[in-house]
Amino acid sequence: MSEIRIEGLNKSIKGAVILKDINMTLTSGKIYGFKGKNGSGKTMLMRAISGLILPDSGFVIINGRELHKDITFPQSMGILIENPSFLPQYTGLKNLKLLADLTDNISIKDIRIALERVGLDPDDKRTYRKYSLGMKQKLGIANAIMGEPDIIILDEPINALDEESAHNIKKVLLEIRDRDKLIIIACHDKEELEFLSDIIYEIKDGSIIDRKDIADEDA
């Protein structure tokens, strides 16, 4: 059971307000969608939750432990923010293996399963530099979901994917959610976001302007 609690989060970069008084509580077993125009603050909020940027004020508390005080990064997290970036000279499997080696709990079997789930062949001998845009995106998602971390953060996960691949990724994300994981996604496509998310936060100019509970609406 994971819980992310954000209280009074503010962040400015070079004088520009990026996040303004963000308050929210996210719990496991749900997919949270972040909606908003380009530059609204969706990605920055994801970065703040993942520990990549430091708040000017306010807190991000993950399972009772405050980010940048008790922990530097969430202890069990997979992340894909903006364009995936890997080492061009290695295969997808090798790239994920190098990253998994930095953790304590992801086996080669977990990596192979993650690659297969996103529709990549773990034994593909092509190096990352020869991957298509869609394959790169899939590898980024595989990196985020390998070992099924408690928190998964995905920025525009179905960008650059064909219809069949996008459908598969959505299915995988729903399966993972049902195993009591907390997933946060940002997506431009309103229909896709509403299909995937349980709760949608709309962000404008760094502030949350709306919270929509999709499950309640469906009921």
């Binding site: 970065r47 990549l52 997290m77 992340i79 970036s85 990253l99 998994a100 930095l102």
Partner: protein, 276 residues
């Protein structure tokens, strides 16, 4: 443990995969031993030297740098090119990897490693090991080339040769002091300069940081001063050999101070840096 895992990755990507760059150290040794051999031939022709020299003679010749320089209109300033290329060679090798790794893979690596300070410590250790590797390659290849030129496999010095070449009488200097000023101090000072360069490459940019390092080495040849630590990498500028030379102890203290300062400043910098 986290640092070791990160270091293993850095050594693989930043050292082993880029090991071809260390051929520069071999070229340096090849050229310097060739020059040393030519100098020895000249000395022998003048009947000032009767042996083939030792590998230590070749090493000292390679790492000599430039004599203490004092401005004199009749004595034009010339950068010791071979020494300069050797020093900036390692600065170039370490210039880009770490910053590129942060900009390309920083999000994945930091979140997987889950520690900013471990990430920084790993980069520092990678830098230190890269400099050590560079020196080891240079020293080993210097020994090999020296042996090929007929030198004795001895760490002793040929006093008459060094007297002719440098004008220094080495007989009154202990062997341990020679090792400190000619081996230990240059390695430690190069490590500390490279670590400062590494930190500056994140704060400014790799190109700016490399340019600053090149400037530091040029100034270090012109002025002999403790605040231009490049001078310490030239053993002939030691106070053992020149009355206005640099005290080796101050060099060791400066190197230790820089290593500790870079660690603390870098740690503070990365603990508060936004990874964007």
């Amino acid at each position: 443990m986290k640092t070791l895992k990160l270091l293993r990755r850095d050594l693989r990507l930043g050292l082993i995969n880029r090991s071809y760059m260390y051929v520069l150290a071999v070229i340096f040794s090849f050229v310097s031993t060739y020059q040393c051999s030519a100098a020895m031939c000249g000395t022998k022709e003048l009947n000032f030297m009767w042996s083939e020299g030792t590998v230590m003679d070749y090493y000292l010749f390679a790492m000599k740098g430039m004599n203490y320089y004092r401005f004199d209109p009749s004595d034009s300033f010339q950068i010791p090119l071979l020494w300069f290329i050797f020093q900036i060679g390692i600065s170039y090798i370490i210039a880009y990897y770490a910053e590129k790794d942060l900009s390309d893979n920083g999000i994945n690596v930091m979140t997987a490693g889950r520690s900013r300070s471990s990430w920084w410590l790993s980069k520092m250790l990678w830098c230190i090991l890269s400099v050590l590797f560079y020196y080891i390659i240079a020293i080993i290849s210097c020994i090999v080339f020296a042996l090929m030129h007929g030198a004795d496999l001895s760490l002793g010095v040929t006093d008459e040769f060094l007297m002719i070449i440098f004008g220094y009488n080495m007989t009154y200097i202990s062997y341990s002091d020679l090792i400190v000023v000619a081996v230990l101090l240059p390695v430690l000072i190069t490590i500390s300069i490279c670590l400062v360069q590494l930190l500056v490459s994140f704060i400014l940019s790799p190109v700016t940081s490399f340019a600053i390092t090149c400037g530091l080495y040029v100034l270090s040849t012109y002025y002999t001063a403790w605040f231009l630590p490049g001078s310490y990498t030239m053993w002939i500028r030691s106070s053992y050999y020149h009355e206005q030379g640099l005290n080796p102890l101050s060099g060791l203290l400066i190197a230790c101070f820089l290593v500790i300062a870079v660690y603390l400043l870098g740690r503070g910098y990365f603990e508060s840096k936004d990874i964007i």
